[in-house]
Amino acid sequence: NAGVTQTPKFRVLKTGQSMTLLCAQDMNHEYMYWYRQDPGMGLRLIHYSVGEGTTAKGEVPDGYNVSRLKKQNFLLGLESAAPSQTSVYFCASTTLADLQETQYFGPGTRLLVL
């Protein structure tokens, strides 16, 4: 049981380049989330998904797209990277079958956009 995994761990992009971050969970969770973490701002929700084939915008969705084609995977895409997207990205998952369940976080992806 690996929990929540993220690929890659670290990436450097040039402005305008594209990339996809992969999040995978093996806990059969329905809900998955992408957050970004910036100093002094805590974690902010980018997009989330409440089930396979569904996605929704979070607090800071601009410049990002997501897809949830399989229940266990949640992809975050940057079509044209900008320096403002330099951040640490965290994926999380949970199930709301039990409202007391917490979110489980991946180890993070550090992205540097030059």
Binding site: G42, L43, P107
Partner: protein, 113 residues
């Protein structure tokens, strides 16, 4: 709209002394409150949660938190701090319909020997 606030960017404590990391919340309805800890270059780890029941919640690593409805607070506490408790602590409130977490800005805890 739901929100949480952590009024202190950093808390400094001597090892062996009690520690408190403050959190206040603003929600409509019953709050679902969480504390997470982040060690350097690591993801977030769950510490404890308040959903309902006793106002004093016990969690991992000897931490506990006190839910105070009248003061809309959910402060994190530990009776005796360890140097290894030094980390970044986040308070969060959860949307009960979508599971989204709304985080405070985080408080860095520094425990000195």
């Amino acid at each position: 709209a739901q929100s949480v606030a952590q009024p202190e960017d950093q808390v400094n404590v001597a090892e062996g002394n009690p520690l408190t990391v403050k959190c206040t919340y603003s929600v409509s309805g019953n709050p679902y409150l969480f504390w997470y800890v982040q060690y350097p270059n690591r993801g977030l780890q769950f510490l404890l949660k308040y959903i309902t029941g006793d106002n004093l919640v016990k969690g991992s690593y000897g931490f506990e938190a006190e839910f105070n409805k009248s003061q809309t607070s959910f402060h994190l506490k530990k009776p005796s701090a360890l140097v290894s408790d030094s980390a970044l602590y986040f308070c969060a409130v959860r949307d009960p319909n979508t599971g989204k977490l709304i985080f405070g800005q985080g408080t860095t805890l520094q425990v000195k020997p």
